[in-house]
């Protein structure tokens, strides 16, 4: 009797092995610098505890990489993979198997394994980013095209931007009242383009302030912005022919802290009572604190930012607001430099093309065609 059961168990055990099926594939991870290998595994058959993944190279020892409890899936091995080395992977399925000799006791056994090999490579072009490349090139070409055609003397139209028309009015008012102008180029560092756009406008404003001999106050909250802003203002005074009127202490640093900076600027607003405030650059929650304090002090206020979350507050609390793209268009608008205007025109062409793509995409979606959307999905 005992023997029979044993034989039976053995048959069940071996047949279960026959039905158990484990597969493993390994391929180089595409579009990377050669630091990844993608593994796919699939297991079917009797119940197992886990799957163990091992790796070796150059015929060395197998080292365990990880374990899985899912029966199939995808895993990217990025564990110190060397480019050009061939890696040999092994996966073992581990199950609790009842010992044929001692029924009732279970042992963890490897019931199935599979092997796969792969060599990692580094790629020279990331094919996932082809849509970015195409869109980037469209913009690049259209902007370059109009810069070149503007250089050759083509006249370019630019619509009115109310927020910038106000600049002369503000400077004039400050001059009349004999009060200073306050300018804040945002609260982020030079690694944000909005700061740079704000500083560009500062240059134009400082020139006008120098012409009218109106005091300019520029508190900043980043050291590198301090250096750049100082240089810009100094140069503007030089250009206006009034280098002697430049006061190096008019551009100054307060603190890197967002609200510490605001506390300081609020103090300046209530005490120096600037006639015109300019907030142009990247702003966070401080936007409304600045704008409300400025309003209460009676200043005429112009703001501009590309932060969608802060625009509502500038729009409600300031007299003029440059919304998003208008901030970046400002330097072209103010300088009327043909090259800058050309680049603006190029952006507009890009916008038209993108809108066309968007509308096409929506029509395709309605028709149930999805390749355009898929193509534009960035991985």
């Amino acid at each position: 009797m005992m023997k029979r059961t044993l034989v039976l168990l053995l048959i069940i055990y071996t047949s279960s092995l026959l039905f158990a099926d484990l597969s493993l594939t390994a391929i180089d991870k595409p579009n990377d610098d050669g630091s990844g290998i993608i593994l796919n595994w699939q297991y079917s058959g009797e119940e197992i505890i886990e799957l163990q993944l091992f790796r070796r190279h150059d015929g060395g020892h197998y080292n365990q990489v990880t374990t899985f409890t899912e029966l199939s899936g995808k895993y990217t091995d990025t564990n110190e993979i060397e480019v050009g080395t061939e890696y040999d992977y092994k996966i073992n399925a581990i199950a609790n198997v009842e010992s044929p000799k001692n029924p009732g006791t279970f042992n963890k056994l490897i019931i199935e394994s599979a092997h796969a090999k792969a060599t990692s490579k580094a790629q020279w072009f990331n094919t996932d980013k082809i849509s970015v490349l195409i869109f980037g090139l469209i913009l690049f070409v259209s902007i370059m095209w109009f810069i070149i055609s503007a250089r050759s003397g083509k006249d370019l139209y630019i619509r009115k931007i109310a927020g910038l028309e106000s600049m002369n009015e503000s400077v004039g008012r400050a001059t009349e009242m004999g009060q200073p102008i306050l300018f804040i180029p945002g609260t982020l560092d030079l690694d944000d383009m909005q700061t740079i756009a704000g500083l560009t406008i500062l240059g134009k404003l400082a020139e006008r302030a120098a012409e009218y001999d109106t005091e300019l106050i520029v508190p900043v909250c980043r050291s590198m912005v301090l250096s750049t802003a100082k240089e810009i203002v100094k140069e503007s005074y030089l250009k206006a022919g009034r280098p002697d009127a430049f006061n190096p202490d008019s551009v100054f640093y307060l603190t890197d802290d967002q609200f510490g900076f605001v506390a300081g600027v609020d103090g300046i607003i209530v005490r120096e009572k600037p006639a015109a405030n300019f907030f142009l650059g990247a702003f966070y929650a401080e936007s409304l604190i600045l704008a409300e304090t400025g309003f209460a002090s009676g200043a005429i206020q112009t703001a501009g930012t590309a932060m969608p979350s802060q625009l509502p507050f500038f729009v409600t609390a300031c007299d003029y607001t440059l919304i998003g793209e208008e901030l970046f268009a400002a330097s072209a608008y103010l300088s009327k430099d043909p090259q800058q205007l050309g680049s603006l025109k190029g952006q507009d062409i890009g916008k038209a093309i993108f809108l066309f793509v968007l509308i096409t995409g929506i029509i395709f979606e309605i028709l149930g065609i999805s390749w355009l959307k898929d193509f534009l999905t960035i991985h």
């Binding site: 100054f252 506390a263 969608p308 729009v315 793209e325």
Partner: protein, 231 residues
Amino acid sequence: MKRTLPLILAMITGFIVLISDFIPHWPFGMITSEIEKWFLIISGFALILGQINLIKVNVNKIRFKAEGWQYFIITIASFAIMVLFGALWGTQSNVGLLGNGTKIVEVIGSKPFDYLFDNVYQHLQATMFSLLAFFIASAAYRAFIARTPESNLLLIAAILVMLGNTSLGSFLTGWLPENLDFLHLPNVSQFIMKYPTTAGQRAIMIGAGLGLIGSSLRIILGIERSYLGGN
């Protein structure tokens, strides 16, 4: 030379960064992240410029007895105290020049730097931030006036969302029958946030994105060079 060389350098750097995004192969793949680290280091050095400027401007004000000059003594003193505390006994996770100041910690409960941070700095920060609760009210009172079609939309959207966000909304329209559920204020507010608001924000993002791309290109090409001083 003092202007052209930096401009050429800017152009080369800009283009390398642009193309490196498409090339995973070494060394291009790591350029962006490496340079972001560099930015931190360079701005770390530059920080000294800010501190020196802060001290200089305030000392000047004290020296020339500018209006309210006494207050600027406080600025310099609190700056010095914070730097001194941080340098001598370190911060919560860093050791200072004099070690961890265990004896002081026994007396006041934490390191002096952290004590000031927790009990002064954090409160100042939180309170300054909370001023927004007041300013949002005064700005709303002043700006949300039905003058033009634009301001009407601003006003209506704001009020509907404000009502829908609090108990007021569910209180006012809670009685609506099921088939008019879409007029229930919390649902109206959700609808406004989800569709027209998203549309507006998207338009701003697309526009600003393009403007930013144009500016970036102007900088890389050297057309926009005011950041080097003047034009």
